[in-house]
Amino acid sequence: MSTAVNSKPALSRSPNRLVATIFGAVYLVVALLGFIVAGGGVGFLDTEGPLLLGIFQINHLHNVAHLLIGAALLIAGLSSVSAAKGANSVVGIVYLLLGIVGFFLVGTDANILALNTPDHFLHLVTAIVLLGAAFGADKSTRAAVA
């Protein structure tokens, strides 16, 4: 019954904690690189912006979103399995919605995150991995708790 039991597995033994930590760290790096690439030459909500790594279009709102999501995932991944599962499912659902809705915003004034097609690919892959981990992995941990 104790949630402490749910949080026992070490970072290296829990797919949810590993996924959250890795994706969190990567998104934090992406956010920092994004701020460097965007610099002062792009508006906070511009619908078009510079390309990160020559592929992913960004603006400053996009960078802030990466920063927050990266921090949330990293903290949850380093904390416990239940925190990692929660963060993976919430961020996964947000990214899934963004990957679908954002796809239809390209070329419109509503594209305030300056999304392009590679962004959608990355968001959808992230969503699927996070949701797959949250709902499909660490089952034995849950069974042990129950």
Binding site: L105, V129, G136
Partner: protein
């Protein structure tokens, strides 16, 4: 590895569901409801598969996944009466969704052939194997699904602007009619 395989099947159902919902958005009204129901059912079934660690309603899901193909074929054959065109019922997304549905159907058929499923969660592989499985499955699914989404009417309009809209009829032989 059994649990990774099951997650991949759920991913395939998610991809098919997303494509069917995207196609439904611009489909003729008569088909819109069917496609939307099908897409929603695929997403719900995929979520249940992930949560339950087994395939729920295997026989029903097998039939449902094949219904997608029957629906597409029926719509094309009755395209003149239903108002179906290549634009409002695009073949590329439907072909990709059908491929994903066939993967689901074959997996369910194999599972049914093997008999009843255990209610206990299958043993999970090591964490890195699980993560590699999740990542490969996600890249494959999105790599197949995203090009399909870009071929839907909403996707084309989003990428090319509203002036990209045009109408192309399915070229169905009608026995004697010389066409136009």
């Amino acid at each position: 590895m059994k649990s990774v395989a099951r997650i991949w099947i759920a991913f395939a159902a998610i991809g098919a569901g997303l494509l069917h919902l995207a196609v439904a958005a611009a489909a003729p009204v008569s088909l819109m409801v069917l496609l939307a129901l099908l897409g929603a059912a695929e997403l719900v079934w995929a979520g249940a598969t992930l949560l339950l660690s087994r395939f729920p309603l295997r026989a029903v899901a097998l039939t449902g996944s094949l219904l997608a193909l029957v629906l597409w074929a029926g719509a094309v054959l009755g395209s003149r009466n239903l108002g179906v065109t290549v634009d409002n019922f695009p073949p590329v997304p439907l072909a990709i969704a059908s491929l994903l549905d066939i993967i689901v159907a074959v997996s369910l058929a194999v599972s049914l052939r093997r008999g009843s499923q255990s209610t206990a969660p299958a043993p999970e592989p090591g964490p890195w194997t699980m993560i590699a499985g999740l990542a490969i499955g996600a890249v494959l699914m999105v790599g197949l699904t995203l090009p399909g989404l870009s071929q839907t009417q909403a996707g084309i309009a989003a990428l090319n602007g509203p002036h990209a809209h045009h109408t192309t009829e399915y070229d169905i032989p009608d026995g004697g009619h010389t066409g136009h």
